[in-house]
């Protein structure tokens, strides 16, 4: 009895965690399951039979296809622009000393701490006053804006863990700054960049609130779902959402795997610093960062 109690007490945290994970995953599983539902009425809310026909007809609704394509195009463009601008900011913040760092940091953090409805409403206010017509272009301006901060955070954390001795080694071996950037910095930074880009893409393709304010008559995937919710969401939406989930998860796993590989290639990281220095101090071998990276 006391042993069972002790076991339960030790594992209470793990059991709680397992339940929490279930709570997080159940709605996702439900979406996947309901993409195989054969609803009787217009509403895909109750289970009424298995079918694969909606997977076969995934792209049978022209309005939905248009909305999804608009979202993909918008997310792709917003991702490219936000990743470039955000990475440049991150490099400046980590690699350079300058006045106004606090102000820059504040400007980057504050959009993330502002409710989306306020961001959307304020953008609409400006577009209204300037008479800027709402549509794909205004959506793009907004999506890049809210993605930049997240890109900066991801790339910055990657740059902080970056071993600059690898670059110094390249420079010592006669590489020009440009060659160093191209052959050392960029490859090591790539997993971080791809991670940031994926995040920006996910944020953009998923955004409803800010898009609702800045879209005009342009319809994105989330806006289509919102509009369809009143009259019953077609099963195809569940199918496309499941596809999107599978594709982004696959991309995410691939990036994590690449990141691990990059980290292995550049084993000289902050954690290993101690051993490197102690080896150097004991005079056993004159190791250079470049040597141990090879």
């Amino acid at each position: 009895m006391t042993r069972a109690w002790g076991w339960l007490r030790y594992h209470a945290v793990s059991i709680w965690a397992a339940l929490a994970i279930a709570y997080l995953l159940i709605p996702i599983a439900l979406i996947a399951v309901f993409s195989f539902n054969d609803p009787e009425g217009k509403f895909n809310y109750t289970w009424s039979g298995f079918t694969t026909k909606y997977w076969g007809d995934a792209f049978a609704i022209p309005d939905l296809n248009d909305a999804f394509l608009t979202s993909l195009r918008l997310a792709a463009l917003a991702t490219i622009i936000a990743t470039i601008l955000g990475t440049m900011i991150a490099i400046a913040l980590v690699r350079h000393q300058f006045h106004g760092r606090r102000a820059a940091n504040f400007l980057i953090v504050i959009p993330m701490a502002t409710p989306e409805v306020v961001i959307g409403a304020s953008l609409l206010s400006m577009f209204l006053i300037y008479g800027i017509s709402l549509g794909f272009f205004s959506l793009l301006l907004a999506h890049v804006m809210f993605s930049i901060s997240f890109v900066v955070i991801v790339v910055r954390s990657r740059l902080i863990g970056f071993d600059r001795r690898l670059e110094e080694a390249a420079r010592d071996l006669g590489a020009t700054p440009l060659t160093t950037f191209r052959t050392v910095t960029l490859p090591l930074l790539t997993p971080g960049l791809v991670g940031a880009a994926l995040l920006a893409f996910a944020l953009s393709i998923d955004d409803f609130v800010i898009s609702n304010f800045t879209s005009g008559t342009t319809v994105t995937f989330p806006l289509y779902i919102f509009g369809a919710a009143q009259r019953g969401i077609p099963v195809q939406v569940y199918v496309i959402a499941t596809m999107l989930f599978v594709v982004t998860v696959a991309a995410m796993v691939f990036v994590t795997w690449q990141q691990r590989r990059a980290e292995k290639m550049a084993e000289v990281r902050a954690d290993d610093d101690e051993t490197g220095l102690s080896a150097l101090a004991s005079g056993k071998e004159p190791i250079s960062p470049a040597g141990s990276a090879a």
Partner: protein, 293 residues
């Protein structure tokens, strides 16, 4: 400051790097806020046109007409934040200290909801909580819910949805702070004859406080402005301030009141956050800035 010795062109490099991105943020975040501020002080209707008149009445009108929604927003967001913390802390703890080789898979499960569309995720909850769904059945069996009881279209459903949708924002910062924690500190406490509980209360909990502060803010702020959960899982009796702002802007086109209410929302959030930071310490927010310098 050793950068004074560098040539001017070198010193300008960071500004060139940051320039385009920060200008984008100024143009499409800061300046829009200015225009919203101006709009919030204008008077008139859509038909007659709006005119800038320092019309502060928009603020008092907005507050009077929608004080219920304001109150509800902060109540729901606060409740959801507390529940999320209760769910998230043990989860983050288990991943950080008991995760083993499953650590990455578990972290992945935490962010998995982000890879499905927010709206569909929320709509999936309408199926789970529907009147003939499993949750309602179970609650009725245990007598928690009456024979005609329902979960959907009640405040509980809205709070459950908000908790679900923002839970990852709570888990990740707490996990990050626990992960950074040196396990030798806990061992040291135990070596000094501290009980597991005392070691947790005196070592683990205080050291993970920055994560808790960051997590609560990241959950509370978007939750207070959210209106998706109230739209899909609630009823007209559970509408939040986001619903009001959205309909004032996009349906009723009463721009000045809507703008004023956005500012009230922002101001109240700011006040709550400042009080909270004063109370909980500012390390959590300033922490990662210091890393960069």
């Amino acid at each position: 400051m050793n950068d004074e010795s560098k040539p001017l062109s070198r010193r300008l490099v960071p500004y060139w790097l940051m320039g385009p991105g920060l200008i984008w943020l100024v143009l499409f975040f800061v300046i829009p806020l200015y225009f919203m501020l101006r709009l919030s002080l204008e008077s008139g209707t859509l038909e007659t046109g709006f005119e800038f008149t320092w019309d502060w009445a928009n603020y008092s009108d907005g507050w009077d007409r929608y004080s219920e929604q304001f109150f509800r927003s902060f109540l729901y967001a606060g409740t959801a934040t507390v529940i999320a913390l209760i769910i998230a802390y043990p989860l983050a703890y288990a991943i950080a200290f008991r995760g083993g080789r499953w650590k990455n898979a578990l972290l992945f499960a935490v962010v998995a909801p982000f890879f499905t569309t927010y709206l569909i995720r929320t709509i999936a909850w309408t199926t789970i909580l529907s009147d003939d769904g499993v949750v309602v059945d179970v609650l009725k069996t245990f007598g928690i819910l009456g024979e005609n009881g329902k979960v959907l279209a009640t405040p509980s459903a809205v709070i459950a949805g908000i908790t679900y949708n923002f839970l990852p924002f709570m888990v990740l910062p707490i996990y990050a702070s626990l992960e950074r924690l040196d396990p030798r500190l806990i061992e040291a406490a135990k070596d000094l004859y501290s009980s597991s509980r005392a070691a947790f209360v005196k070592v683990t909990l205080p050291l993970s406080a920055p994560g808790i502060v960051a997590g609560t803010l990241l959950t509370f702020i978007p939750a207070a402005g959210d209106y998706i959960n109230a739209t899909f899982l609630g009823s007209t009796n559970t509408s939040m301030v986001g619903n009001a702002i959205q309909s004032l802007y996009l349906s009723l086109r009463d721009y000045p009141t809507a703008a004023a209410m956005s500012f009230i929302l922002m101001a109240v959030i700011l006040i709550i956050v400042l009080i909270y930071i004063r109370f909980a310490g500012s390390e959590a927010l300033m922490g990662d800035e210091e890393e960069a310098t």
